[in-house]
């Protein structure tokens, strides 16, 4: 009922193979704890996903503390680079989608 004010509710999706790192589940409804911070950045969300949600093959998702090259990050269907990348603020109810770029044809 009450979404506590020290967490933030988001929808996270993993597509194009990244779901393999997250229990083969493409869509996750999450309450991400704020840990006494005022807000959540995309960078902090990625760290949270890597440490708390990831179940397998971390190198497919994260490298050198940031998202692996070849993954596109979409916030409400817009490229995160338009919004500021890792520093962009996550808002309640946001959909954050991680999609691996495909090369086959």
């Amino acid at each position: 009922m009450s979404s506590s004010s020290d967490s933030i509710q988001v929808t996270v999706e993993f597509r194009a193979g990244l779901e393999l790192c997250f229990n083969d589940q493409k869509k996750h409804e999450l309450e991400v704890p704020l840990n006494d911070k005022e807000s959540l950045t995309l960078g902090a969300l990625i760290q949270y996903l890597a440490s708390e949600l990831l179940t397998k093959k971390p190198e497919f998702f994260i490298q050198n503390d940031t998202i692996r090259p070849g993954i596109l990050v979409l916030v409400n269907d817009a490229d995160w680079e338009i919004l500021g990348g890792e520093d962009a603020q996550v808002e309640k109810g946001d959909n954050i989608t991680f999609i691996s770029t495909l090369h086959g044809g």
Binding site: R15, A16, G17, R68, P69, G70, L72, E81, T101, G105
Partner: protein
Amino acid sequence: SSFTKDSLDNDEIARFSRQLLTPYIGMKGQLNICNSSVLVIGAGGLGAPVTMYLAGTGIGRIGLVDFDTVEVSNLHRQVMHRESRVGMAKTRSGLMSAKAINSKLRVNEHNEALSVDNARQLISQYDIVVDASDNIATRYLVNDACILEGKPLVSGSALKMEGQLSVYGYKGSPCYRCLHPKPPPANTIQNCSDGGVLGVVPGIIGVLQALEVLKIASGQDPSYNQKMLFFDGEDGSFRVSKMRPRNPECDVCGDYPTITELIDYQLFCGSKKPRPEL
């Protein structure tokens, strides 16, 4: 192109009548299409529908680049090939299927691997380029060559149940390198041989690539410029996302590019080791 068509004959009017009737194309758009040329890189799962549907539209000239021959495992998705052509060069099989639809179409067979040595020279001969290839080194090579030659790139890809499509390097859109300045580590890359692919997925992406080519050729704006289409066949979902604009600091399409000629893409993508001396 050596000559420019400025009117349609009666056979062409009959042939393209249904397409001409759409106000979106009209006579002027059809003439633009007939005067356009496209280079299709890869005559496989994406290249097959691109080639057949573009042959239907009346595009003036299609170049096909592929060094493979038709195999029986291709037929489930590469529907321009046929059983009787197993062992034939894919470019020849593609030519035969395209000319069966429109015998006036000019088709150039480039039965060779796209490489640093031939990419720019091939691309320079066409108005529009379609990336229908199947590996990441070729994707960077095609991108850089298109930027260096100033050609719009309609890029599609497919694996398992999913497909992606975008237009690169055209009217302010990013290039492949703007989105992906660094290649993914080689150990994270899957292709259709190990991941499999459902034939209809490149089918859908390929027909949409043909539509994007048709739009550019006819003088309209493409739909997926600075946008990317994501299709997931598992749930039938489509997502169109707004992407970043061209990056002025991009290594190849930026204001001060550091890549001004083609590089070693196998090395860049980590699919071969650097020579020990280096």
